[in-house]
Amino acid sequence: MTATEVTWELFEEEIERPPLTPAQLAWRRFRQHKMAMMGAGLLIAIILYVTAGAFFYSEADANYTDLSIKLSPPSWAHPFGTDLVGRDILARTIYGGQISIVIGILAVVVSLVVGVLIGAMAGFYGGIVDSILMRFTEAIFNIPQLFLLIVLAKFLGGKVPNLQFLGRTFSGSVVVIIGVIGLTSWMYLARIVRASFLSLKEQEFVTAARCLGARNASLIFEHILPNTIAPIIVAATLEVASAIISEAYVSFLGLGVQPPTATWGNMLDQAYHHLETEPWMWFFPGMLILLTVLGINFVGDGLRDALDPRALVEAK
């Protein structure tokens, strides 16, 4: 009698601990990655700063100009000081941060769509489609991104009207910058997607799906694409960081998001002229960009280690 109970208990224990899914394994490895957790903490803090901060400062505060206190240094009333027209820099970094982060994420979404489509087409169909798409990719890859950014930002600048969204007015240039950054940064993604497709499409599960009558679209998006997700996630995460920096570059050169919408980048735009006397004007937005990018890079590194299929085998 007792013997059967013991085996029953063991059996139950096994039911309670099903084998870990790949996602759980990845999460385990990610948690052990100190830098990645630090980066995640940093990112959460920044996201809290730009979201919870909105409860303390309204957008009207961020755009409220008071010439009598223009260019005043950091004080209790204005912890980060005020800018050229007396706007509170702390409030502007909160709202500017929202836009900067949204631009970073949406630009990567654009580049994901373009990059995955082109990479998947080229890798899946091969032959002439592959040659044409990859020559095109290579051609754009060879032009330094900032030059393309400047040309495209100037081309599209001022052509999109202001937008109303969630009761707030956004400069149309936000959309332009998202598109421009997205359209100049998909090449790397296209390459890794193509490389994964080239090896995956020869595997048995693809042949099996094809034999069951799956159409090409279903093969690409339902069968092969999910298997390439790990390198895509890593590349896309790191891409968010460079998109935020790109936004800052373009805005710094004056072609970025236009006022009244603030971003961390365009807050730095005028700062150059206040280098000597008003360092608070450029220090805080730049510091926030640095911290955000640092956090994303840490998380990206952690994800790479966590999602690496070779690492998955080692993790128990």
Binding site: P144, L146, F147, L152, V293, N297
Partner: protein, 343 residues
Amino acid sequence: MTRYVTRRILQVVPLLLIISVILFALINLMGDPLASFGGRQRLRAKDRERLTRQLGLDKPILVQYVIWLVGNDWMEVDLDGDGIPDQYGTRQGVLRGDFGKSFVEKRPVLDIIGERVPNTLLLMLTSEVAILVFSLLIGIYSALRQYSVLDYVFTAFSFIGYSMPVFWLALILMYVFAVNFKRWGLPYFPTVGMYDLAVGPTVGQVLWHLILPLVTVSVISIAGYSRYVRAQMLEVINQDYIRTARAKGLPRRMVVLDHALKNAALPLVTIVGMDVPLLLSGAVVTESIFAWPGMGRLFWDAAIDTDIPVLMGILVIISVLVVLFQIITDIAYTFLDPRIRYD
């Protein structure tokens, strides 16, 4: 090897053609090149029409591209802008080395770019040397003294440096080394231009002005590559042949520099070759901030004025450079690593 090089160069030709088509289309859509022609006044409609014809901007974009590429001395063009083609054109086209004339300065594009190229090269080559020297030094040190205090300091420095926007770094450097050093009565670095106008372009002046832009351009790359060298060194240094070299009693210096570094630094060649576009992008921002009269700044000025010939000239030259560097990198690799053969 010769066959490989020939094949690569032959592949480059269509690639550059595709690049030039994409760029030409983009830049011609970019804006109205005549917008800055009248100075502060608006151009009269009649003048605008005449200028459009004289500059050949009234032709379909494909024709404009062909003229840009092969010139217009084989066709009759409308030089006085009255709408009737009257004489043969004088442009030779890019394929024969004629990049056209700047819309703004009315001088040959190659002359304008030629004046700027040495300045950009000076900045880029010295940066590249600084990048290599410092990332190797830091990387080797960190690998040999793994988990030492300095290793952690360098690691922290490299993560921060790698995440830093170039222009913000420039602002900080200017604030500390120019503004505050001046305030504290220390010798301070200049922040504008290549030399003091009162002194003139002497070697000392240019070097003195070079330091801040140089640091700005190279810090970010040093941050990335020192990590890379460290990782490579750590991988190499634990291999059997290093233990053999040590065991047979070679001096440590020789083991590190001769046996380990040679293999560890190999992949660095590739990234240095691929680095050219990155450095050029960095140069646009850096040159704009420090008023360094190089190609990056020229591009920026030309972009504001929509000076199509200058923009095309710069972008084509950059694309050629980028593609050439890739080939040189691949070839250099075969010399450095005999295991790699392309034939």
